[in-house]
């Protein structure tokens, strides 16, 4: 798992696998994670960033000085699948999001071979003003309408497990 904050309230799956050494964790500063995803979607294989220089998270990574300041090289990330939640979608895959739930969604849509998007509503083409489209449809493979999705954190807190009983 590549992540910046692999701890959340009531989470059990990741800690269990981590302590059993059945999953490997690559811890990345949150901004480096975002930029690695952005680079992956943008066809840029790697870049230099000031984040994590002189810390354990830069150990073993290539560094280079620009204008007298040290930067660390980070590689792009590309996924086979991305699973993204949005607010509105049309059949071209044009998306808008809801408030801070936008999150990593728009960049992750660009960085996967197959991007599957859960939307609160599928609307007709033209119903989303082209001026406010956040993710252009070219980055989206499939959209799935889920009108009233449950918050994952609520399901986890209720100890609900997949597959559903």
């Amino acid at each position: 798992m590549i992540c910046s904050f692999p701890r959340t309230a009531n989470s059990t799956v990741f800690p269990d696998l981590y302590y059993k050494k059945e999953i490997e964790l690559e811890l990345v500063p949150q901004g480096s994670l975002a930029e690695r995803i952005r680079a992956g979607g943008a066809g840029i294989p790697a870049f230099y960033t000031p984040s994590s220089v002189n810390t354990p998270l830069a150990e073993g990574k290539d560094t280079r000085d620009f204008d007298g300041k040290t930067y660390v090289m980070e590689y792009a990330i590309k996924a086979d699948f991305s699973l993204v939640k949005c607010n509105l979608a049309d059949r071209y895959g044009n998306l808008t999001y809801n408030k801070t739930a936008r999150n990593f969604g728009p960049i992750m849509c660009t960085a996967a071979k197959t991007t599957i998007v859960q939307t609160k509503k599928i609307v007709e083409p033209g119903e989303i003003d082209p001026e406010i489209v956040v993710t252009p449809g070219i980055f989206v493979t499939k959209v799935v309408e889920v009108t009233n999705p449950e918050a994952e954190s609520k399901l986890v807190a209720e100890d609900r497990r997949y597959p559903c009983q």
Binding site: F5, P6, G31, I37, T49, T55, T100
Partner: protein, 218 residues
């Protein structure tokens, strides 16, 4: 020996208020999780400060009224918040462009340790076995123009948190500009640590006894 007397010095709100007083009108500010969040409650009259939360909002408002929480409007600490009129939402790459690209003026962070050179350790004690987590702290200290730290002066056990050299894994090297503790406000300069203000009843000698690095007077 650490001799911190919990009865003297500023409380958490007073520390936050001190930090808020030093944030200029018109600043874009990011607040870390925990005590730094209190700073937004003390913006002095007549000043406008725009708060950034790295999960994708510029123009973060106060906590919503009970019953008006929106699970899709949260801050980096996953607490429900509000957006002020004139706020905007954006994705993580844009959010960290603001941070890393030095567009944010001030960041207020918590600390486990701060060194006399301004090194900050605030993400891990390095204890083996614990699942490490870092969030956006390393990007914030690498890119934000001014870094304030707000922290108790000593640990729960009374050990100094402001020390010659950090023993915990670093978040960033030479990044802290000013420390707001319950005992004093301290500037980190190229010439060392300088005491800017002492809390009521705190003497310079008492402060020095509770600090693991040499302090200087202006």
């Amino acid at each position: 020996m650490p001799i911190t007397d919990k009865k003297i010095g500023w409380d958490r709100n007073q520390m936050a208020q001190k930090a808020a007083l030093d944030i200029p009108d018109g600043s874009y500010v990011n607040l870390g999780i925990g005590m730094p969040e209190l700073v937004s409650g003390f913006v002095p009259e007549g000043r406008e400060v725009i708060y950034h939360t790295e999960n994708g909002l510029l123009g973060m408002g106060q906590v919503p009224e009970s019953g008006k929480e929106d699970p899709e409007l949260i801050n980096a600490g996953k607490k429900c918040i509000t957006a002020i009129p004139g706020a905007c939402f954006f994705h993580h790459a844009d959010s960290f462009t603001m941070i890393r690209g030095s567009h944010i003026d001030i960041c207020v962070l918590g600390a486990m340790q701060v060194s006399q050179e301004g090194d900050l350790a605030n993400w891990s004690t390095g204890k083996p076995g614990a699942i490490p987590a870092v969030g956006g702290a390393m990007d914030l200290v690498a890119g934000v123009k001014t870094i304030f730290v707000i922290t108790q002066h000593t640990t729960k056990h009374g050990d100094p948190k402001i020390i010659e050299e950090c023993t915990y894994p670093l978040t960033g090297k030479g990044v802290v500009n000013r420390i707001y503790s319950n005992l004093a406000i301290i500037d980190v300069t190229d010439e060392g640590l300088f005491v800017r203000e002492l809390a009521p009843e705190v003497t310079f000698e008492y402060l020095q006894q509770n600090t693991g690095a040499k302090l200087n007077e202006y």
